[in-house]
């Protein structure tokens, strides 16, 4: 957003942006500010796909995109940047191609990596606005803390099934007043497993389209200085009831970044902060695992094995591999259905919930014959039986 006065446009660019230029409040000044601006989108998925298309089309001069995922079939119902022929390609690579197709007058910086405490400050530094469209709590807190430390506004969007939230964090207004940040709103993340991810719980495909577009709108407002950014407020959208609300966010005096007695002066281990065990700690939990190949061999050799499926009934309807359905949140109530005198393999979609189920059953009832199916039903579909649908 610096030096926007010196920005010039080619004839082609003026044609591209003509409908912006004719809005009196926006005009040439707004368009110059957009071209001078640098925006970093963290995540190029459901939220990033619509947001980035509009930011590129609108003429944000430099767009950074960070993501380490490759495109999968299960992305396509909402990640409208991608098509079937893109499956297996890196998201950032395809995103860059599409954005430059939409607008060749911009620059797209690509970071095909995971945002971590080690690289976040280096990557965010130099951007004017960060737009957070990630899918997990550790990265949410990392983006928040890094943007506060670097003094960058953070346009936040998050979704769950039919519900979305939007806010602008760490925004400094014309009078120098700094708005609240994510830690003011939610001082602590939920314990792992309590709030399922979109992969586990699903999401209405169009919902990230709505929320991602709202993020794009806030980014453009911040850059151009028009309107009132959604700072100090949280927008809530429920697609089912079409209820929308905008509630106030109050500052938390105990915020470790910006409260009365700040204690956070550098980035931390966000996996640990969110209660997610690191690799070493996971080994300490010592959950016995079995690969899908080993499990297949046990079956081939005729071993008597009980298979427990801890997913939800609606997931069972999509795909199943013959397990007895006992959803994770009821597993302790149905421990009597689980054998103690033979091998019991526990599975879910990817192996996380089943590990949690085994830990709970072991800690509460002392089970010592449970094996986690590594990679869950997804691994079974990929490596053993392609006819089992992936979701």
């Amino acid at each position: 957003m610096n030096n926007w006065n010196d920005v010039e446009f080619s004839k082609e660019e003026l044609g591209h942006y003509s409908r912006h230029l004719t809005i009196p409040e926006f005009g040439m000044e707004g368009q110059k500010k957009l071209k001078a601006a640098k925006v970093l989108a963290v995540g190029t998925g459901g939220l990033g796909a619509p947001m980035l298309q509009y930011l590129a089309a609108a003429g944000v001069g430099t767009i950074g995109i960070i993501d380490f995922d490759k495109i999968e079939a299960s992305n396509l119902h909402r990640q409208v940047l991608f098509g079937v022929s893109d499956i297996g390609r890196p998201k950032v690579e395809v995103t860059k191609e599409r954005l430059l197709e939409i607008n060749p007058h911009i620059t797209v910086n690509v970071y095909e990596t995971q945002l971590t405490s080690e690289n976040a400050l280096d990557i965010l530094k130099g951007y004017d606005v960060v737009a957070d469209g990630t899918d997990n709590f550790p990265t949410r807190y990392l983006v928040n803390d890094a943007s506060v430390m670097l003094d960058i506004p953070n346009v936040h969007g998050s979704i769950f099934q039919f519900e979305g939230q939007v806010s602008v964090f760490n925004y400094v207004d014309d009078e120098g007043n700094r708005g609240p940040n994510y830690r003011d709103l939610f001082p602590e993340p939920p314990p792992p497993g309590l709030v399922p991810s979109c992969a586990e719980a699903g999401v209405l495909g169009v919902l990230p389209g709505i929320i991602g577009c709202l993020q794009a709108s806030e980014v453009i407002k911040i850059i151009t200085g028009i309107g009132e950014p959604l700072a100090g407020r949280l927008f809530l959208f429920d697609a089912l009831s079409f209820k929308t609300r905008t509630v106030k966010i109050t500052k938390n005096r105990e915020n470790p970044l910006t409260g009365e007695h700040p204690t956070l002066t550098e980035l931390i281990d966000y996996q640990a902060f969110c209660g997610i065990p690191g690799q070493g700690q996971e080994a300490e939990l010592n959950i016995p695992e079995v690969s899908v190949q080993e499990y297949k061999e046990w079956l081939t050799h005729g071993e008597d094995i009980q298979l427990i499926d801890v997913r939800e009934p609606h997931e069972y309807e999509i795909a199943e591999i013959g397990g007895e359905l006992i959803p994770l949140n009821t597993v302790l109530d149905h421990a009597d259905k689980i054998s103690r005198d033979k091998k019991v393999v526990v599975h879910c979609r990817s192996g996380k919930r089943s590990a949690d189920a085994i830990r709970q059953l072991r800690d509460k009832y002392g089970f010592n014959n449970l094996y986690n199916l590594k990679g869950g039903i997804l691994a079974w579909s990929k490596e053993i039986d392609e006819s089992v649908p992936q979701y």
């Binding site: 990033g48 990640q79 899918d135 709590f137 998050s158 979704i159 769950f160 939920p190 709030v195």
Partner: protein
Amino acid sequence: MATINIPTPLRKFTDQKRNFETDRQTLSDAIDHLVATYPGVKNNLLDEEGKVRSFIKVYIEDNEVNPNENGSVELSEDTEISIVPAIAGGI
């Protein structure tokens, strides 16, 4: 009757109901009423001390309620209470 808006992550404990109506007069009584009606909500909404968990905000109309003041917050016939949990989905 005051109304509590149930957020999506808690609806699997409320038979997918999006609203809960209560005739209780204070916020803490209203939350107790919700939890008594749908016991599955309890562990996900309240901590061991019975306080609203720190990743959940409670709003009356557009204003955040201080979790320590739940007992003294009086409800009227048309009070709308929103439970807003942190959600992280995005991709």
